[in-house]
């Protein structure tokens, strides 16, 4: 596939911010993730080619970070915190409820995450990296459905504003 002209221009803009182009690895991985719906092997190759690195090096970086999804996750990533401040407010049960509720839903991906720095609103949930909380399972499903219907405007699965690149 390789970068389209627009993507290449965008990638050049990003790389130009850094004294060394390799620093653009994370932002470029966000770019291909938003383009393809997950970080695919094509995405890895495109970033590698652009930065003059091997795909193995780029994948090595990519696989270290939880925000890069290497398998399709649908349109909405629902992150539920179960670390201690959320745990004592029901975060684990909330995660389990949401996981079951959306188990067969290809559009919604529910994941358990570590502390998201939203502990004063525990249990905390993010939908495509927008914060919500405190929520019980019913309220969380309601929020997710509002994003699905478009009543709430979801960011990309990389957490960037829709419409804006990177």
């Amino acid at each position: 596939m390789a970068f389209s002209t627009t993507d290449r221009r965008r990638a050049e803009e990003i790389a130009a911010r850094y004294p060394q182009a390799r620093s653009a690895t994370l932002p470029l991985l966000f770019l291909v993730q938003d383009r393809d719906g997950s970080v695919t092997s094509q995405g890895i190759e495109d970033v590698a080619e652009f930065l003059g690195l091997t795909p193995a090096v780029v994948l090595g970086t990519c696989s270290f970070y939880t925000m890069f999804k290497t398998t399709p996750v649908g349109r909405l990533v629902v992150s539920v915190c179960t670390n201690v401040a959320c745990m004592v407010k029901g975060g684990m049960e909330l995660h389990e409820d949401l996981r079951r509720h959306y188990a067969a839903d290809d559009e919604v991906f529910v994941e358990e995450v570590e502390c998201m720095a939203h502990c004063d609103r525990a249990p905390a949930v993010q939908v495509n990296y927008d914060f919500h909380g405190p929520l019980d399972a019913a309220a969380a499903v309601d929020v997710v459905e509002q994003y699905r219907s478009g009543a709430l405007r979801a960011r990309t699965i990389s957490g960037t504003s829709q419409g804006a690149a990177e």
Binding site: R22, F30, F68, V84, C115, A117, D120, N128, G159
Partner: protein
Amino acid sequence: MTAQETRIVSKFLRERTEDSWTYEAARAYNGAYTRLEQAFAMTPDQIVEEVQKSGLRGRGGAGFGTGQKWSFLPKGVFPRYLCVNGDEGEPCTFKDHMLVERDPHQIVEGIIITAYAIQANHAFIYLRGEFALGAERLQQAIDDAYRNGFLGKNIGGSGFDLELVLHRGAGCYIAGDETGLLSSLEGERAMPRIKPPFPAAQGLYAAPTVVNNIETMSTIPHIIANGGEWYAGLGVGKSTGTRLFSVSGHVERPGNYEIELGMTFRELIEGLAGGVPGGKRMKFFIPGGASAPWLLPEHLDSPLDMDYAGAELRTMLGSGAITVFDEDTDPLLVSWRLAKFYAHESCGKCTPCREGSSWIEKVLHRMVKGQGRPEDLDLLLSFGSSIVPGLNAPFAQTTICALGPSTMSHVVSLDRWFRDEIVERLTRDADRRRSLQVTSA
């Protein structure tokens, strides 16, 4: 007297909740960027001196003297870089999250002054990837600062140039370690680096680098405006000034509270945060983020003083996060969940942490699930001591970064405060399993 906040860095964002993050509001009502003129009238060395005089210590967790850190840069070596650490990931800490979303201009102004003081023409903010709204607002603030001549070439006619880049992380705790941050910013896995060389000598792209926390940056404009002596007059001993504390868990009013250092835990937890709800008693609390050894209700009258916490309480104020657990909380469950966190976040570079963190999690898991053995706590301490020799705070470590000893901090706390309770429970569990085996045979 009832406990009160002393708001400096959080004053504006509390007063103007509707639009404190906008350029217009920050300029009109908070004097944003007016401290630059004062700063540029000083020499870079004078600013370093002023900040040293203030006694300001890094607000990220380690509590190292900010001005002192700046003074370590080797003379005459350029380029230099300023990296601002906004990768707030220490469990239960949420102060930088608030500062980024609600007062980004205060951060940008602090960065400009700091970059001028250390003579760096390129600065980066490494912001936690999950802070999507924060990234949006911070980028807007940076764009506004460029548009109005506070970033870029010849800022305010001073002859000083600064490029400021917002860099989003992508989900990993260890990028919050200062050398892990540098590795990540260079496009690699966020693995911490062995020190020396320290970042001041060889940091980003092997150039002299200062890494400072978001709250630290937010404090700088106020020190320039009011003087180092003013700041040093607040606080207690060598813990000068104010700090934001994130209070969470079983309290009536969880939230961020900016207080003068020296206030007691009780005033903060019970006075400001309202204490444990539902008439319950507190069982224990974590005083400085997940990596800090735990304390008990009997310690509530101790002062929030970084040195006292280390020397007298054998813990730390760390990232400024206090999590309270009520009497119904199972300390083993909290310990296991923290162990799971460290096992997940260990970067895998140092063997004791990579192997140890997941073994600690496995053993704690069986303990929580009623499958523990009476000697399990000692087992944990035994192999934990190869990560933390001596097992005594302040922790020694066999790993490059502090994540290693943090994997044992909660285990040491279990041993220190709840040993009898846990051994009794493990013995009971073992007896129960034995009796089940006998009956089923």
